[in-house]
Symmetry: C2
Subunit: 356 residues, 2 copies
C-alpha cells in the first residue's frame, strides 16, 4: 500500500470501474468486455496493487490507439486435454485472456482435480494475484506465472537483459483467516518500484539494482545504466528463467530476446504468455479440514516470538486484505499526479472525468 498523501482524493471502486469501462468503450472495446477489464483493474486498486490498476489505463489506451492491442479479439482454445488448455488470446487485453483462462482452469479442475491453462498472444493483465485468487472462491488453490512485459534482468553474471521480473502468485483459502496470497516478482524489486522511487526523488536501497560494472546502483534516475537483481542471486535468476519457460516458451509466447518492452513501445504486439493452475482441494482432502490446517499454520506463524524491533509477523496476503477492507469502505486514495493524468485522458477521449 502506498500511504495516501495529504492531497490524495479517495474515489469509490464503482466510480473507478465506471471510468475505466467508459474509456475502453470509447476506443472500441465492447461493453461487456470493457466492463470485465474495468472490474479487474478496479479490483487491483481496491486490493492495494495500485501499480497495476487504473494507474495503467493511460498506457493501455495508448497501446490500443497505437494498434498494439486487438480490441475485438477472438479469444479461443487452441489445444485441449482433460487437465490442460492452451488459450490463444488473439492479442486481446490480458485481463480478458486470463479471466477466460482462469475460468477454464476452474471448470476443468472440478472433474480432473487439477488443471493447467496456458495463454499466448495475451497482453499485460495487471497483478498476478488477481488470477491466482480466482480459484479460491471455488475452494481451489490458484497458481499463476507470467512473463513480464519488459526485460530488466540478465542471466546471473551477465549483462544482456534477456529476462523479466517473471512473477509467481499462489493463493489459497483459510477458514476464519483471510486467504493466503503470495504475489511476487523474482527480482528483489519490481521495476515499478524503481519508477516510484524516481517520482518521489528518493534513492533506492543497495541490492535492488546493479550497474554494468557490478557496483550497486542506488539512483533511480540512472536506472537505464543498470539492471534489476534477482532474489537470492543465481536462485532468483533460475526462478525467473524457469517461470518464463513455463509461462512463455511452453505456450509459444514471447520469452528471452522476443520480449517487447511495452513501456517503450505503443505499436508492437507483445505475445505475452501466462499460465494459471487450479488445484481442487476437495480432490485431496475435505475442504473444511484443509482450511482449518491453514488457519492453524497462519496463527502459529503470527504468534511467533519476534526479532527485536519487529512489531508483528506478516502473512502473505494480509496487506492486500487490509487494503481491501479499508478501500471498500473509504475508497481508493488517488494521488494528484494520477488524477491529473486521468483528467487529461478523459479530455482526450471525451468522457466524463473520474469522480465527477
Amino acid at each position: 500500500m502506498t500511504p495516501a498523501t495529504p492531497a490524495a482524493q479517495h474515489i469509490g471502486a464503482s466510480h473507478i470501474e465506471a471510468f475505466i469501462a467508459s474509456a475502453f468503450q470509447k476506443v472500441g472495446i465492447s461493453v461487456p468486455e470493457a466492463q470485465s477489464i474495468a472490474q479487474l483493474m478496479a479490483r487491483a486498486d481496491v486490493n492495494g496493487s495500485e501499480g497495476h490498476g487504473i494507474f495503467r489505463l493511460p498506457q493501455y489506451i495508448r497501446r490500443i490507439k497505437g494498434g498494439a492491442v486487438n480490441i475485438k479479439p477472438d479469444i479461443r482454445i487452441e489445444r485441449e486435454a482433460a487437465a490442460m488448455a492452451l488459450v490463444n488470446g488473439d492479442n486481446g487485453m490480458g485481463h480478458l485472456v486470463m479471466k477466460f483462462a482462469a475460468e477454464k482452469a476452474i471448470e476443468k479442475a472440478k472433474t480432473a482435480g487439477v488443471a493447467w491453462v496456458g495463454a499466448k498472444w495475451s497482453n499485460h493483465a495487471g497483478p498476478a494475484s488477481l488470477y491466482a485468487s480466482m480459484p479460491v472462491a471455488h475452494n481451489m488453490i490458484g497458481l499463476y506465472l507470467a512473463v513480464g512485459n519488459a526485460n530488466h534482468l540478465p542471466a546471473w553474471g551477465g549483462l544482456d537483459m534477456l529476462l523479466s521480473t517473471n512473477p509467481i502468485a499462489i493463493a489459497l483459502p483459510g477458514e476464519d483467516e483471510a486467504p493466503v496470497i503470495l504475489d511476487m516478482a523474482t527480482t528483489v524489486a519490481a521495476y515499478g518500484k524503481v519508477k516510484t522511487k524516481a517520482q518521489r526523488g528518493e534513492m533506492m536501497p543497495e541490492g535492488w539494482m546493479m550497474d554494468r560494472q557490478g557496483n550497486p546502483l542506488t539512483d533511480p534516475n540512472r536506472s537505464n545504466e543498470g539492471f534489476l537483481l534477482p532474489i537470492g542471486g543465481y536462485k532468483g535468476y533460475g526462478l525467473a528463467l524457469m517461470f518464463g519457460l513455463l509461462a512463455g516458451t511452453l505456450n509459444g509466447a514471447a520469452m528471452g530476446r522476443d520480449v517487447v518492452d511495452f513501456n517503450a513501445d505503443d505499436t508492437t504486439p507483445t505475445n505475452t504468455g501466462h499460465c494459471i493452475v487450479a488445484i481442487n482441494i476437495e480432490a485431496f482432502q475435505p475442504v473444511a479440514e484443509f482450511k482449518k490446517s491453514v488457519d492453524v499454520l497462519v496463527r502459529d506463524l503470527r504468534k511467533s516470538e519476534r526479532l527485536p524491533g519487529v512489531d508483528r509477523i506478516h502473512i502473505p496476503g494480509e496487506g492486500s486484505h487490509a487494503a481491501r477492507t479499508d478501500r471498500v469502505k473509504n475508497g481508493v486514495p488517488m494521488p494528484p499526479s494520477l488524477m491529473a493524468a486521468l483528467d487529461a485522458l478523459a479530455a482526450e477521449l471525451g468522457i466524463a472525468p473520474l469522480g465527477k
Copy 2:
C-alpha cells in the same frame, strides 16, 4: 560439486549402487525395493548432489533400525482423479514413494496433458531434481516441491522455526542442450551447506544465517543459536510457506509445528509431504519446437555479455550435467571421512565394504 580432496577415492556408480542395495537388504527391505532406492541414491551422487546420495545412508539405516521408517510399506493411491493422485507412502523410504508418485504423474499426463501427484507419509527422498527430472525422459516437464525434514526457518521477522528450506525443482528438456534443471532451497543456503562449513572449519558468509538478536551469524559451530535466512527476505519466506502448504498441508502431510527434525530423531515417522507435477509438452506444442526454443534461449543466455570478472554464464543444470559426464567415466569422489563412515556401517551390518 564438492571439489575432490587429494585423498578422495573414486568409486564407480555400480559399486555405490550395489553397496547401498546390500545395506538396505540387510535391514529387511526387499531386493527390488532396495535396488530402486540404491539406484536413485547413486544417481544423486553421479549428478553431483553428494549431500543427498550415499552420504545419507548411515542416517537412513539408523532411522530404519530405530523404527522410524517402514521397511515393508504398502505404497498406495488413496485418492485419484484424471489429473491428480494422492499417494499414501505408508511411511516407506521417500525414494520409493516419490518414484511411484512420479511414474503415476507421467502416466496420467500422457492423456490428461498435466498431472499433479501429492504424497503423504513419505520420508526424505534425496535431491529434488531426481524426481523433477523423471518426466523429462518422456518429453515432459517436471516440477517438484517438498517439505524439508527439519525446521530451520522462522516467519520473516520471527524467531520460532516453523518452516523448512522447502525446495523447488523444475526440469525440462532441450534439443542439443542438456536439460535445464533448477533445484534450489528457498533459503540462501541449505542446512547441509552449514554443516559442510563446520566440518571444514570455515566461516559462513554473511547472509546465510542470523542470530536471535538479528545479527549476522557466520560461525557454523554456533548454528544452533540462530536460523537460516530465506532468499529475498520476505519473498523467500513466502515461497517456503506456499511450497510447504502445497507439498505438505494439501496432502495431509506434516507442515509447520508438526515437522520432525529427522537429523535429531531416529524413532519418529516424519510424515513427509512432496508433490510432483508432470506437464506433457506435446499437449501444448510439437516437442521438437519446444526443445529448439529452449536451445535458442539457453544459447542466448550463455553468450550474454558478462560482468567484469565473470568467466562464464551458467545455465541451471549445467553443473549437474558436467558432474554426471565426469563421474560416469571416472567414478564418484568419496572423501576419507565418508569412506570411514561407510566402512563402519559395513562392519555393523556385516556386508562387504564399499569398493572392495
